[in-house]
Symmetry: C2
């Protein structure tokens, strides 16, 4: 107590350096460095003295300085769409686990589906000299990353491919998934099937639409323009779109929902609707099995997406210099009831 009163607290933000530790232990700077990094060639006695000084001073190595000298930061960046979206949680976590296994930290941020923000964030990460970058693209033009990639920032795109540059990508089979989901509805007797998707500039959204169109064409079914609605996944927008499809003179008897956000809103609208309408959603959602009817979905493995992308990234960091690759992971149809509802007898 008296001690505290007499001697001023160490200035905030001032931390002991290796030099301070060296002075206190009565050794050279390099010896401290050796001890801190567990290098060979230090007498047990010297080591003990250094360690005491470290503890007494509360020293912790400044990795910023270390990075500057060594050139690698042992950190990777992840740009995703929204940290709060449950779909990206497992992906994020999977990337983290791989990074951790390689001794790297993860810096991440949300683009909020805004291309400018994506670029701002990705370039900020490059300025921090992350060793590698994993990007879930919001934009369609990634030429802004070319100098960075050339300079050695390993870059892998996940969930959606890069635009206008050639780069590694790890994707889910959006086309195939949407095609099989739509075919599933057709197999259950539906002819008028609606498609509610995300913004058309988003690669996954357009691929899923293409899958839907393909399945319809394969069954020789024409598509009425009124059955297709693309736009943001804001609940109001989706609610309106679904409601309109159901209120038409010849209403759709089934709906294919383009992603998890859309599915959730579609479930809400259909629950309040006066007659059963079939539904298949892209992406699995929690508790989907407990709803009545259970929600039939095209599930993708978000964790596998993240893990595969991160592994590819570290493979590159380990020196792999092969041509950019594109990995496509399969999706899986999980039938739970909503996708097996038949069309009305009079439909």
């Amino acid at each position: 107590m008296a001690d505290t009163a007499r001697r001023p607290e160490p200035r905030y933000g001032t931390r002991p350096t290796m030099k301070d530790v060296a002075a206190r232990a009565g050794v050279g700077l390099k010896t401290v460095s050796r001890v801190v990094n567990g290098e060979q060639g230090v007498t047990p006695d010297t080591e003990r003295r250094v360690q005491e000084a470290i503890d007494a001073l509360g020293f912790r190595r400044n990795d910023s300085a270390r990075v500057l000298r060594k050139g690698r930061t042992a950190s990777i960046g992840l740009v995703l769409e929204d940290l709060a979206d449950p779909f990206y949680g497992p992906l994020n976590r999977a990337v983290e686990e791989v990074a951790r296994a390689h001794g790297a930290l993860l810096i991440n941020g949300s683009s909020a589906e805004d291309p400018d923000r994506e670029q701002e964030l990705a370039l900020a990460l490059c300025a921090r000299r992350v060793d590698g970058l994993i990007v879930i693209p919001a934009g369609c033009d990634h030429r802004y990353l070319e100098p960075e990639i050339k300079a050695g920032v390993a870059t892998v795109f996940v969930d959606r491919p890069a635009g206008r540059i050639d780069a590694d990508a790890v994707l889910s089979d959006s086309f195939g998934g949407a095609r099989s989901g739509t075919a599933h509805l057709i197999a259950h007797g539906h002819r008028r099937i609606g498609f509610v998707g995300d913004l058309p500039r988003i690669h996954t959204a357009s691929e899923r639409l293409r899958g839907y169109r393909t399945a319809m064409a394969e069954a020789d079914l024409a598509i009425d323009d009124a059955w297709v609605s693309l736009g943001t996944t804001a609940p109001d927008r989706v609610r309106e779109a679904v409601t309109a499809m159901l209120a038409a003179p010849e209403p759709v008897t089934a709906i294919f929902a383009g992603n998890n956000r859309v599915t959730v809103t579609a479930v809400r609208v259909l629950a309040a609707h006066h007659r059963p309408v079939a539904l298949v959603g892209f992406d699995d959602i929690e508790l989907a099995d407990l709803l009545d009817p259970g929600v039939t979905v095209i599930a993708q493995d978000a964790a596998a997406l993240g893990r595969t992308a991160a592994e590819r990234l570290f493979h590159r960091l380990d020196g792999a210099a092969d041509a950019p690759s594109r990995v496509v992971l399969p999706t899986r149809l999980i039938a739970r009831g909503s996708g097996e509802i038949p069309p009305p007898a009079d439909g």
Copy 2:
């Protein structure tokens, strides 16, 4: 093409520096620094020349070096339990938004509810010299952070308080929420109420248990040991606990679930049970309103938790040196049906 063949590609990982830019533009180093940082006092003509050199060389400022010189990294660390847990998504995102508004990046990682991993992660972030740290504690002893805090790392704990040190904390009212949720079940006629919670060493878990006990005591209801189960939130463990409570000779007629993970599993078990059992869960869960019955919950505002903690952090970084504070955010009971199921007439 011929050009590529003749001149070797720039070595991977070698990037131009301000010195290179200066040489190319024929100006001094400091002038480049001025242009890069948008400082005053550069002739438009000089600026243009520098900018041309920057573009030609693909220069990007190395923030690692900048950090070393300036002392602040403009980044904060967030240690949470699991990036994949939907409860932490909105919290994470809220922290990110505040950080972004202050020009800071977010480095985050999962402790996986392991105190050692929490410590390892937090100290790694300190070594990176994050300006501040937001921690959702897994452990109960945070004295390991004392030297860091003394050295100027602003630290705020969120969701759970720090152990054995005095530090800022932002919490939800776990005690009050659990108490009112239990009281809600009592008000609907229940006398034998089960409590299924998380590991007792977790502060929120013990507080919620205390709330449950208090509500029971206030209604003069004794608690049978068999009605209380604490442990991990692993589905198997929870399933077993709930099943046991329902299979007892005098089974519980209602269950209070201690968090979102527990609630989800409890809903599954109850859905398969032969008679209706009331349920109130802590934390809201998606689609809870669409289940039959809807799940009555004690909702907490995860985004507000994150936002408040981050604001507190930046307040400290702006120099606030007042005593550590504890903020407790209210919870809200949302009645949806499951919590209003009466006990069986013969019960």
